[in-house]
Symmetry: none
Subunit: 307 residues, 5 copies
Amino acid sequence: MAFTDRVQQILSWYSSENPGTLTNLARLLNHGKLAGTGKLVILPVDQGFEHGPVRSFAPNPDAYDPDYHYQLAIDAGCNAYAAPLGSLEAAAAKFAGQVPLILKVNNSDTLAKMDQPISALTSTVEDALRLGCVAIGYTIYPGSGARNTMYQDLKELTLEAKRKGLVVVVWSYPRGAGISKQGETAVDICTYAATIAAQLGAHLIKVKPPSAHIEQPEHQKVFEKHGIKTDTLADRVRLVVQSCFNGKRVVIFSGGEAKGSEDVLKEVKELAAGGSFGSIMGRNAFQRKRADALQLLGDVMSIYKSA
Amino acid sequence: MAFTDRVQQILSWYSSENPGTLTNLARLLNHGKLAGTGKLVILPVDQGFEHGPVRSFAPNPDAYDPDYHYQLAIDAGCNAYAAPLGSLEAAAAKFAGQVPLILKVNNSDTLAKMDQPISALTSTVEDALRLGCVAIGYTIYPGSGARNTMYQDLKELTLEAKRKGLVVVVWSYPRGAGISKQGETAVDICTYAATIAAQLGAHLIKVKPPSAHIEQPEHQKVFEKHGIKTDTLADRVRLVVQSCFNGKRVVIFSGGEAKGSEDVLKEVKELAAGGSFGSIMGRNAFQRKRADALQLLGDVMSIYKSA
Amino acid sequence: MAFTDRVQQILSWYSSENPGTLTNLARLLNHGKLAGTGKLVILPVDQGFEHGPVRSFAPNPDAYDPDYHYQLAIDAGCNAYAAPLGSLEAAAAKFAGQVPLILKVNNSDTLAKMDQPISALTSTVEDALRLGCVAIGYTIYPGSGARNTMYQDLKELTLEAKRKGLVVVVWSYPRGAGISKQGETAVDICTYAATIAAQLGAHLIKVKPPSAHIEQPEHQKVFEKHGIKTDTLADRVRLVVQSCFNGKRVVIFSGGEAKGSEDVLKEVKELAAGGSFGSIMGRNAFQRKRADALQLLGDVMSIYKSA
Amino acid sequence: MAFTDRVQQILSWYSSENPGTLTNLARLLNHGKLAGTGKLVILPVDQGFEHGPVRSFAPNPDAYDPDYHYQLAIDAGCNAYAAPLGSLEAAAAKFAGQVPLILKVNNSDTLAKMDQPISALTSTVEDALRLGCVAIGYTIYPGSGARNTMYQDLKELTLEAKRKGLVVVVWSYPRGAGISKQGETAVDICTYAATIAAQLGAHLIKVKPPSAHIEQPEHQKVFEKHGIKTDTLADRVRLVVQSCFNGKRVVIFSGGEAKGSEDVLKEVKELAAGGSFGSIMGRNAFQRKRADALQLLGDVMSIYKSA
Amino acid sequence: MAFTDRVQQILSWYSSENPGTLTNLARLLNHGKLAGTGKLVILPVDQGFEHGPVRSFAPNPDAYDPDYHYQLAIDAGCNAYAAPLGSLEAAAAKFAGQVPLILKVNNSDTLAKMDQPISALTSTVEDALRLGCVAIGYTIYPGSGARNTMYQDLKELTLEAKRKGLVVVVWSYPRGAGISKQGETAVDICTYAATIAAQLGAHLIKVKPPSAHIEQPEHQKVFEKHGIKTDTLADRVRLVVQSCFNGKRVVIFSGGEAKGSEDVLKEVKELAAGGSFGSIMGRNAFQRKRADALQLLGDVMSIYKSA
């Protein structure tokens, strides 16, 4: 299979990685309906762990079943399916090779009151290999007082993953004592969080769509001084992309809470216009009935395809 | 020995595991009076460690003797006997091969005041192999601020256990600063705790029978919105089963404090009606006189057999 | 499951082993139609490797399929099925838990011209654990100039297997420059080979039925001086059993080349009369049509049962 | 040396252990004046480390010399001498083989203010082997917030010690934020602490003589409900013995602070009457002049001998 | 147990060893009827492996049973019992602690035609620890072209054994292309072989009683020049003892083939007169009826005792 120029270009940004990691990155980029476009739509399902099963799956009880998500990701033509250990294991043998897998190696729940937000390590690079994953996924909370533990754990995982030829995906969600609730999606914070992920060696970076809010006074001054445009989501996305090594790291955006299809598509158009490499869409996919989810994911892919 | 369709079906849910783990899972499912039914009644005896010897064994002093529990599990036809290192070692050679063993690899006592609830690691996967166990057992306390340490320790144990062909049983008991006393058995928390265990890679999950209480406001809203039935214990058990990968992970329920046989059997009927895969019954077994315990365990098995 | 006195007696001979090894030994002794009798009939299929597939399976082409042998061992009620890595892997998940497995960890083929006979190490203790085996099997060729490599490899495997709770089965087949063709089954050599296996720490020993030939002059003198009876196969088997720690190690006999059922049963009667713990019967089982094989294995088991 | 029936009986309780551990256990039971009785009097000298040299040895300055304790243990006919690394090393070569040695592998001093009581690991299993010890000794403080670290360290030590054929002795001294000063020797806490040691895999358990105080309300209720006798020290010792796997683990009692010989002997009589397996007597031995110490140890042994 | 001056003197020759090794050496010297004399009579039973079971045990069929030898060594009051892995394992738990054990970690059989004589490694230092042995035993064949492999394997074993506190016993039997059949017991060769063992770090050295034959011309000249007396066995033994670091390594002599009690005792008297530290007597012990063996061993011990 000859690769598209775009895929070759993207791979060229990662030329320090070993061929194993490049191979798995290529698998991500060449799978599903967006294969070869350099765009990605990924199905992530860690809400059972992160929010509890009932909040996650009651809107569409078929989604209690781990098989459901594999099949949805396959049928929708997603580039990958990302989930914690248990979910992947539950059907990894059954669907082996049908969709690239990302093992989410840390997870949090809403039961514990943690002094500082930090997810627990819940699986390993070894698990990712035995389950046939192309990547590991890891969440950092820039802004947390437990930052160092997270970055250090990630450092070890990244080193091992790259040595073994895996891709590293980092969810970068600002959170913690240093950041206001509004600041968690502030454009200055979001761009910053994206850069941190890139600096930690992430191959793929996942952030939330940034709001126009600016959290830090130091940033406020700079944004004003240089007349940095942040009016539209597309403007702000462009800034995030720029913050990811001037567009040389793949950055994708999460969809957040479930909402109407109109709203989803409107947001995705802005993301695409801003140069996003794609979307990672969980609740908006699996909390819809299957037919609706397939429709919506298809529409989202169409937007990226024509971007 | 040909396997029943039900046992084959259950094994099919674990197809990502190696044949060693499947073999030990099959041993659990095919031993004792419930062999082949897909149901399990397990005798756990960690109360000596968890509550102290006198509170545990004064009601039936024969139970001070480690041999007693082996013999009880064997004679009652339990699927397995679970205990900490010392108890298993005390008679593992004597009863070798007579009943599947689960080594409880972490334990807590009531002497220490811990800032955050977390059990101590007290034995290893290597111990489980040298004692001839089919599984390791590990307790997590979702809701504890020490959650991350627990999940991370479990991650390592799970990886090693699965590589060596053992089954992983997780006791998931919500507890800690994030949860009210009442919330520890709340239906939203219990279902959540069951899912966490499943996501952590548990093959067998042990939770407490859930009450109708709902702890988290976010859950309250979802339960109401979707009209989720939680009136009877059977309803709530059904929800727990669903939360364990839509019934594709074996989940069993603990009996809790010793109570009258009537009450035990009434509760077990509800558990069975809700689709529980079985019971793990410690104090209600070994705190009775042996004849009574055999009678009660036999009655419990009959309920599951005809469920 | 209460054990028979005979099984308890056999286990008592292995009291230096850990409970894990005792458990797996008990599994061998308590499976199939001979469960509890202290006798064993084992199906070994390493001829595909040792003699080539066509020589092995052309007489009964169904036997090309690895599933066939699992099913045959299960349906015949054998105590165990023994095979090299590939054969076991091919269906270990499918038949997990249905029959005790012995992983043959070394194998030879007839393609290479070896200076001295020695099998190649082809799998590991770790493989045995992940495949759910109760034992590893290893072939030694006493009489080979490569003896030392074999014994030394076995020493390492044995130490690891015992630490991990597995049983060690040794095939002891005299062969090599030091022994004439006729001597390979000579009664003095066969008893010697059985003792060597026992001394190397084997739990189960497999030898060929000894002939009345005496190979070594030193032995000839001793046999004559002490008037040791070797007239009948039963006499000679009795001597082999005695040579296995005075009957305190389980020793079983292979059937050798395929022959008529009459001949097989006649030989087995002699083996049983001499105190053999059982038979390991490969070609005489799988080179017959399935119905005939089941019939023959059943008849063999009946002989041991009534011995 | 033929063993007494009592020694054989005691060894039978440890049948899951390897012959190496059984051998070293037999060495403990068959040495000194109490050889063969199943009773033990052990000389422990870790007070130099635990309380400082002057507090420990000023009452009898000869005891500053490590040789002194070896000679005392030998001449008194103790079953063993237990001490930290330095003390043992100081004369292990000189007295090699003259008395079984127990290497105390963790130790605490009174200089540091620890948040939670926990001893430091001060030597290793490898040290125990190179010094010719029959056992390692380890102190746990049930009730300490550092409980988990202690139990987890012990888990690793125990696994290694048992693999290498050593005996594991656990000093179980309740202490920490969860327990009142009075509670440290309360009968409910002491029995609990003994059970914990047994569950952690200890072969020999050392506790303090329990007082009649009951620390935990939950225990108070159980003691009352079941009319458990705790009036005399003998009653309470009986309960401790029962709490050690119904008497199937060797449990011995420490003598505590130095006191008059009358008091010591009176206490030992109660211990013996309650079924104690012996005493571990440090300060009451080495803080007396040698002749007095020999006299007292001799008297103590006589009591156990005739018990 | 206070040690005799002689035992203390012997231990003083090994002052570079760690206390663990000294302890185990003391155990050898202080066990059985010769305890404390500095003399040793050891029962070795590796003939099953080395010569085959029938040649070894037909003269006294009770000796097929591994228990027999343990009991014989115990009842005769031997200092130790030495055997290969299987024999020791067969009853190590049963007789744990009743007699010091020497694990023979390499063994040869008479089935293979080896280019150069060299035994196979058949067990490990780890095995010796788990079986509770005081020593490992290793055979070298000085004169063999495979010398280097043997010395190098022994070097590794010795280093590990000494680190773990074990004693190293070396059987030094000249053999191989460089030596005539008669030369294998020649006095020049035997003294040489004893020195090699000492130089390789052996604590105990076992050689055959030397004949008056002198194998090497270089030796012949020296023997003559210095008028070295070799007339009597006592003379030659004296030379062997001298060759073992001037008597500062314990050297004992094997008895060789079974012979009449008169002959045995006559030879032992010469050995004792020459300063031998004792005898290692296998076939002359276990090939006699038990009562005769006990009588003979007792007589041998008496000779050494009064030497």
